[in-house]
């Protein structure tokens, strides 16, 4: 009962305090707002980079050409052997006739030449289109497939894929480090702003100590105040992110430059970002207040 009373008093006082020290609160809120906008921007950017690199990687296919003279049974055996490998995500079969039909549809020249081809006379090869789970192990998997009886050759853009994978991997790592660094910098920036605002309230802390408030009792209202500041500070960044991202997505038709680079769909992405911003704002606000008050509680 006593704890509930103290807590409810603390919550009431924190709200009061935010408004009674409004100019100081506004300084902290502005600082949180600006930094959270930057954080939101970098998260969106890094998430999108992450997303389209993953999309591109997912599109990488090992085209497995089978021997020309392979029969149905042979094809089934190859399929079974491929599926036995652990890095396989999906296998699709494309017969030489399907390929020929596709080619004939695409041009009249092909049509003239290929129309006379039959199952037996076609020089094309049946293929399996293999997608892998882990793109970094693609060469290893390709190597295993090439050793299967009945497989003639493989094509997967060998060197290019390897390079692409390592470049994308680096981009992802760099963007992740940048976001984390930005959040840490934000935390300290906000902590310092709050520290300055609390500095002007040392007297209040002194009086609290004087009348017998325990350290935890002094900290709680300030920490709650930090939480409220974080909450208020995240409102504008959330509005900017939500409306801004939807607007950009609509304007660019969900893609950048070409259909290869796709943007992440706004829902539920913007909601996730919003929740993340609120959480970052609150935690950072609380952390800042806690650190600042702690400094003034030492003798």
């Amino acid at each position: 009962m006593k704890a509930v009373r103290i807590l409810s008093r603390n919550i009431r006082d924190s709200f009061k305090s935010v408004f009674r020290n409004f100019s100081l609160s506004l300084a902290s809120i502005t600082c949180i707002t600006i930094t959270l906008v930057v954080v939101a921007f970098s998260i969106i950017l890094s998430y999108n980079v992450n997303n389209f690199t993953t999309e591109i990687e997912r599109d990488v296919t090992i085209v497995t050409f089978l021997n020309v003279d392979i029969d149905d049974e042979g094809r089934q055996t190859v399929l079974k052997e491929i599926n036995k490998l652990d890095n396989i995500a999906k296998v699709e079969y494309e017969s030489k006739m399907t390929i020929a039909n596709e080619m004939m549809e695409s041009s009249d020249v092909y049509k003239n030449i290929m129309s006379s081809w039959t199952e037996e006379t076609s020089p094309l090869q049946d293929t399996y289109l293999v997608k892998v789970k882990d793109i970094e192990r693609i060469s290893e998997t390709a190597d295993q497939i090439s050793k299967i009886e009945g497989v003639s050759t493989l094509k997967y853009g060998e060197g290019m894929v390897d390079k692409l994978v390592s470049v994308f991997d680096m981009i992802r790592k760099v963007s992740l480090v940048a976001v984390v660094a930005l959040i840490i910098v934000t935390a300290f920036l906000i902590a310092n702003t709050i520290k300055i605002t609390i500095f002007s309230r040392r007297r209040e802390i002194d009086i609290m100590r004087l009348v017998g408030a325990s350290n935890i009792n002094i900290k709680i209202p300030f920490v709650l105040e930090g939480l409220i500041l974080g909450l208020l500070g995240s409102i504008i960044p959330i509005i900017i992110t939500t409306y801004g991202y939807v607007a950009i997505y609509d304007k660019m038709d969900g893609q950048v430059f070409s259909s290869v680079i796709k943007l992440v769909e706004p829902t539920p992405f913007v909601y996730e970002i919003s929740i993340l911003l609120v959480i970052i704002g609150m935690i950072v606000g609380m952390f800042g207040s806690w650190r600042a008050v702690k400094k003034y509680l030492k003798i």
Binding site: K2, A3, R5, I6, R9, R20, N21, R203, E204, D206, I207, M208, R209, L210, V211, G212, A213, S214, N215, N217, L297, K298, I299
Partner: protein
Amino acid sequence: MNLIAIKGVSKRYPNGVNAIQNMNLTIEKGDFVFVIGSTGCGKSTLIKMLYREVKPTKGSINVGGIDVAKLRNSKVYKIRRKIGVVFQDFKLLQKSTVYENVAFALEVLGLPKDEIHRKVLKSLELVGLKHKAKNYPHELSGGEQQRVAIARAIVNGPKLLICDEPTGNLDEKTSMEIMGVIDQVNKLGTTIIMVTHDTKIVEKMQKRTILLDSGRILKDYAKGTYKNEGRKNTK
């Protein structure tokens, strides 16, 4: 019975100043004691050690059964809840009303609202400021602000009221009014320790008076024996 027992206490500040040197002092429950002496004689250090704003370098200080000298930083509130402190500069929360300022001391203890209400009004009545409960400190005179500070200091029914130059900022007439309030608090059973420069007040009140010099007790006048021996004002 002793409320305060100071045994062999010394305080040396990090800058090398010996503020208090091997002091022994006992103060009885219900007593009213003045602490006087020139600037830098250790008066402030002495009372700051009582409410554990300053930690002694050596010796033991027992206040109402708590060894203040050994109290950890995080446990300071335990002694503060048994002691009321009044300062020269009042130390009121400027953005809170008179009522809120006094209630604050009880809220930190987590008392129920109606109990806080009753105690705050009683305390404000004692200092004669019940009618100004809704005013803010800056709307009050210095004397009235000091009364609020006293009301806050005693609202919790402390055993000891420490006054650090409570009349330092007030004129003579207001000072005597404040002394009247403090005397009344004393009569209700609270022990009072008051540091002051104003020997006129000390002479008038005729209470036990301790004269400090260079961190030592120079003289300990028993109740009714203090006379201003040629010192106009110890300032």
